[in-house]
Symmetry: C2
Subunit: 169 residues, 2 copies
């Protein structure tokens, strides 16, 4: 029977080893004659390595029913990759630190609410974004350019996410 | 009485003089073992001028009731600026070509649906994003870095948007 992977709430502190949480939180600047609150500089976009440039995509993602078995992780060794949900639906972010191969014991799964995105730091192992119940779209900001920018690693003894219940932070 | 500015539907063709429409349209690449459709390379991010870097913000925008009087436009001479709505709510994009000062007769207003974003090309004159009925959040991708990157221009004889009815494309 696979080991359980428990979800954790997505917070900037808990996610710090993996990158940035993108969310309208904290101090805002007031712009546009008072009509707009600007939550500035949410993500360290790191895409210049080996002649890269920023690229913007939309990922339309089919839903996944739990339990979800985590059998693989991927990483982008040449740049960061940000995901921002576009329809205010909760989703799951699964990550591991940027070691040479994923450290199975260090894999973390976060439950994000629908107005939270993440920016994965360069080289951070991650599972494809997990949409729940309904298909969902994400704005993705990553690196385009020369070079091989995707490694995939199988997880020998898969982990399983059984429920949306989260551990205490 | 101010001249009327009629809304047009937002399409890539109509918006081409001003930048890119960001939307899950056209050909998609299938990735993530079939779970994700990738609509690639939606926006020409142009932020490197004078030592700039890409920056990501969330703009939380108060709603505007129609009629809306357009009394000013702004532009960013050093970089592009992309807006993507985060709650699937329609919004209005008001732009003018990147001439030295805005050409009042060339001001265009587009009604975007909630899964359409835009990337304003460098120097394109624009009004702050207009949210309708409810407050709304936008992911913004623009340029951070040295230099003066915001010009504001008053429109001497304001234009007025009276309704959400759109002209034929």
């Amino acid at each position: 029977m696979p080991d359980a992977l428990r979800l954790r709430p997505l917070t900037p502190e808990a996610f710090a080893p993996f990158g940035d949480v993108i969310a309208a939180a904290g101090q805002a600047e007031i712009i546009n004659s008072g009509m707009t609150r600007k939550f500035a500089d949410q993500a360290r976009i790191d895409v210049e390595c080996e002649g890269g440039r920023p690229a913007v995509h939309i990922y339309r993602s089919a839903p996944t029913a739990l339990p979800l078995t985590v059998t693989m992780l991927e990483r982008h060794p040449l740049g960061s990759q940000a995901f921002m949900p576009l329809q205010d639906r909760p989703w799951i972010v699964i990550v591991a630190p940027p070691t040479d191969i994923p450290d199975r014991g260090a894999i973390c799964a976060f439950l994000a609410h629908g107005l939270q995105g993440v920016n994965l730091a360069r080289g951070v192992w991650h599972h494809p974004q997990v949409s729940l119940e309904e298909a969902a779209d994400y704005l993705v900001i990553d690196r385009a350019g020369p070079g091989e920018n995707c490694d995939i690693h199988s997880i020998e003894r898969p982990l399983i996410i059984r429920s949306l219940e989260t551990e205490r932070p």
